[in-house]
Amino acid sequence: MQETGRITGQQMAFILYCVVSSTGTLILPSLTGALAKRDLWISPIWGALVGLIALLLAFGLNRLYPGENIIQQAPRILGFYLGKFIGFFYLISLIILAGSNTYQYTEFIKTVFLPRTPEMVIMGSIIFVCGLAARGGVELLGRSAQFVTPIFILIFTILIILSIQAWDANNFFPVMEHGVLPSVRGGITQSLWFSELFLISFLFPFIIKGEKKMRWSLLSLFGVLLTLLLVNMSILAVFGIESHIYIFAFFKVTRYISYANFFEHLDAFSLATWILVIYVKIAFLIYITSLATAQWLHLSNYRPIVWPICLLAGGFGMWTAPTIFKLMTYLRSTGSCQFIVFLVIIPALLLLIAFFRKRMEVRAR
């Protein structure tokens, strides 16, 4: 028995929401802004299309091989060796994903709040907490996501509403000055995050039977789209075309809020809530990485390898990039390729092959 806990569809939706929108509101707007400029706010819509495709791929694979995730499905579709090879590729990519997210988080805390604290302390502490959560299993993740996300949504809504005073509507115009292309380019960066919705594949086996999976995951996608849209809009409205010069752009927006000379520096609230959702993301990534590793090696229990995976995630966090700028360059170039391949293209190929295999099996009969 690898995991005995079960989650509801709603908890799944909350986890997915956290996974995409936690770091999607951190450095992503700045990445997108550099490419999309004034069409920053259109990009999430293109990204969401990719997200939808990723979701549909996961659903398709789940329909053909229900109750299994991609690590288990791959050997069935491609045969033992090739399947294990693909699985290994997934393990590496997952751990890089976990590492790069940990690194983004660490940089965020370091730059904004604790400039003189060693990175090891920040990284180690969050990884420790996430490791504990990952050992607690999927049930714990689902419930903590359920507990944390409403707080995040509430505070972000308040912050966006409060930031309206600094908005300048002229920043939106002209819409699509240089055609569709800039927004699509930004959309590709956005799709990097949206395609993470494919990780729902790892949650499918744990959802209670009879839950409306499709409805909840679409709601989750919609929620993510809305959040990123609003965040990007507010960034664009406040900073205009220069939005990409700030790494943590939305955080800068919250610093602009000032009412009655007293309600200012609300960034502390945004930080506090960010920590909560980023924790869900990192814990989820560590959890699925250890689960996938255990499944790949056919171990009987994933729990003992959680701490080694945590260590690796911290290591990969250090190795992915020496500075946040290098990380951003990586995400804009190699990273986007790698993750799109890993989260969309390979699943699509797998689905195609699986589809034909099933059809051939039916014919053979």
């Binding site: 920040i122 959560a133 714990l140 689902g142 520096h265």
Partner: protein, 567 residues
């Protein structure tokens, strides 16, 4: 060929890795807890250490039983009166409060009889008027030649609770519980007459969880008075009362109350099972039981609620929970409990819904203040002073200008001295109580500020924290939050706001993981139950609460007519 070899190698490697890791992983029997449709109650995790403890407990229990066996054992009542009296007197060690009255039954002068009871435990008036007097005089009128024992039992002893037994053990137990024993010469049986009647405190207003609107009655130390207080409010034939005994020496009586057809039977069974596993020499308060049956004994949060109010117990019973009455204490245990109910007051249901909803928000706010305010103060002052609004920052800096300590030292000293004050005023005899308040306010508040040992703002923070922690109607929940304040302050002093958030995350993780008798502790928020949110942060008007809370899995969900179609 290569394929088989590599295949074999792969599986061998897998086996080896598996074995390697299984050394570190304790194989635990974890029962599936499904958030939406929980069928199985999660058992308490029994690790190896627990098993050793259980074995030890069994040994102690065996020894205690052996002791009792040695002393009383299977001894049955003798025919000779003298032997019986001597035996009981010797067993109790010539106890001074054991009263033995020998007399002759008038109807048959040759037959001697004796009455034994313990002074102070039995009601002497009942013994005199309804046991001794009819037996000594009444039989004279009747000159039938019936079986005297049967006659005595059937018509002469004028008491409702009469039992005949030949087992000495049973007789002694009854004697020690305040009953009177009746022996007749020539009969190898004794009669137990229910004459329990010791002095006790009357029904009084409860000292904890005070209300403005609501019943004023509180539980007493007497088990039967308490169960009567509940029955008077709940005249339902389905109310079940199971009697249990715990404590090898104290023989404390417990009553397990629940409503058949409402309460989830699995909870009742689990409760009985856990109580059955207790083996201890004495139980003096329900706290003993609480600690021994709760799901997670290391948690700082209370997993079982206790109350002194019969109306609260009835309300919980109607929600499908189980109440455990313990003899000798006015605190009744209620399980399962969820986190939310620790900031409810029974008054929330008596007062108008708007008022109670507002009060609940207030309590939740004060809970957050009690937990976080000192930590946030320390974090902002020592790490993130740029985040404080400018004017306030200047005022704070001015207040702190002459203070020689870092804010964490200042905070810890103040918080600890307030805790000391609180503890002192709780333990002090009544009349001296106010002195502590004056000394505390003068020394800690006024003098410390004017001596510039602490900043005025810190005094405000500490004062606000203390008051907020008292706004919680449940003392045991409030005190656990007060305890968590200290690690939070230390986290704030080491990593600032980030440290506070990390520790808060750990607390959330812990809370979300907890279960009380199979019910997730953070329900109805995580796992989310829309229909149960009606009675959580807010309390909607009664006409809208047509169903019992689903989180406790009641067998009968309806509580009002017409509750079928609404959520």
């Amino acid at each position: 060929m290569i394929k088989t070899v590599s295949h074999g190698l792969f599986f061998m490697a897998r086996k080896a890795i598996n074995r390697f890791f299984s050394m570190f992983s304790r194989v635990k029997e974890k029962v599936i807890g499904v958030d939406k449709r929980i069928v199985v109650i999660s058992m308490r995790k029994r690790s190896f250490r627990d098993r050793r403890k259980r074995l030890k407990q069994e040994r102690i229990r065996e020894q205690a039983e052996k002791k009792l066996e040695q002393r009383v054992g299977e001894v049955s009542v003798a025919e000779e009166l003298e032997v019986n009296i001597n035996y009981i007197t010797k067993t109790l060690g010539d106890s001074g409060d054991l009263i033995t009255r020998c007399f002759t039954v008038q109807a048959t002068p040759d037959r001697k009889a004796a009455v034994m009871y313990i002074d102070g435990m039995a009601d002497v008036r009942i013994v005199d008027q309804f046991v001794l007097s009819p037996a000594m005089t009444g039989i004279e009128i009747l000159r039938t030649k019936g079986n005297l024992m049967e006659l005595l039992q059937e018509s002469f002893i004028q008491s409702g609770e009469v039992k005949v037994t030949s087992k000495m053990k049973q007789l002694i137990e009854a004697l020690l519980y305040g009953d009177t024993l009746f022996f007749l010469d020539g009969e190898n049986k004794g009669i137990i007459v229910g004459t329990k009647g010791w002095d006790q405190r009357g029904v009084d207003e409860p000292k904890t969880a005070a209300v403005i609107r609501g019943p004023r009655e509180g539980f007493t130390e007497n088990l039967r008075t308490n169960s009567a207080l509940i029955r008077r409010r709940l005249q339902d034939p389905d109310l079940r009362l199971k009697s249990l005994t715990v404590g090898e020496r104290t023989k404390t009586h417990l009553s397990l109350l629940y409503i058949e057809g409402v309460t989830d039977q699995a909870v009742v069974q689990e409760m009985e099972k856990r109580i059955d596993q207790i083996s201890i020499d004495g139980v003096l308060e329900s706290g003993y039981i609480e600690e021994m049956i709760q799901d997670n004994m290391w948690s700082p949060f209370p997993l079982i609620q206790n109350t002194e109010r019969p109306d609260a117990v009835v309300a919980h019973l109607l929600e499908g929970k189980v109440a455990l009455l313990v003899d000798g204490t006015p605190h009744v245990l209620i399980a399962p409990a969820v986190f939310a109910q620790f900031y409810y007051s029974p008054e929330d249901y008596y007062e108008r819904y708007l008022v109670s909803s507002f009060l609940r928000f207030l309590r939740l706010g004060s809970l957050v203040i009690a937990l976080l305010l000192p930590a946030l103060y320390i974090a902002f002052v020592s790490f993130h002073s740029e985040m404080i609004p400018v004017k306030m920052a200047i005022a704070m800096a001015a207040g702190r200008a002459g203070v020689p300590f870092p804010s964490i030292v200042e905070g810890l000293v103040m918080e600890i001295s307030v805790e000391v004050l609180r503890e002192a005023s709780t333990r002090l005899p009544g009349p001296i109580g106010p002195t502590i308040g004056i000394v505390g306010a003068l020394v800690i508040g006024e003098a410390a500020v004017s001596a510039q040992l602490v900043s005025p703002l810190m005094v405000i923070v500490v004062g606000l924290t203390t008051i907020s922690s008292y706004a919680n109607p449940n003392y045991n929940a409030a005190i656990s939050l007060r305890l968590l304040r200290f690690p939070l302050m230390i986290a704030a002093a080491t990593l600032g706001l980030y440290g506070v958030m990390l520790l808060l995350l750990l607390i959330i993780l812990h809370l979300v993981k907890l279960r009380s008798f199979g019910v997730p502790y953070m329900a109805p928020i995580a796992p989310l139950r829309w229909s149960d949110l009606k009675d959580s942060l807010v309390r909607v008007p009664w006409p809208f609460m047509k169903k019992r809370p689903k989180i406790f899995r009641p067998q009968d969900e309806k509580r009002q007519q017409g509750g079928d179609d609404s959520i």
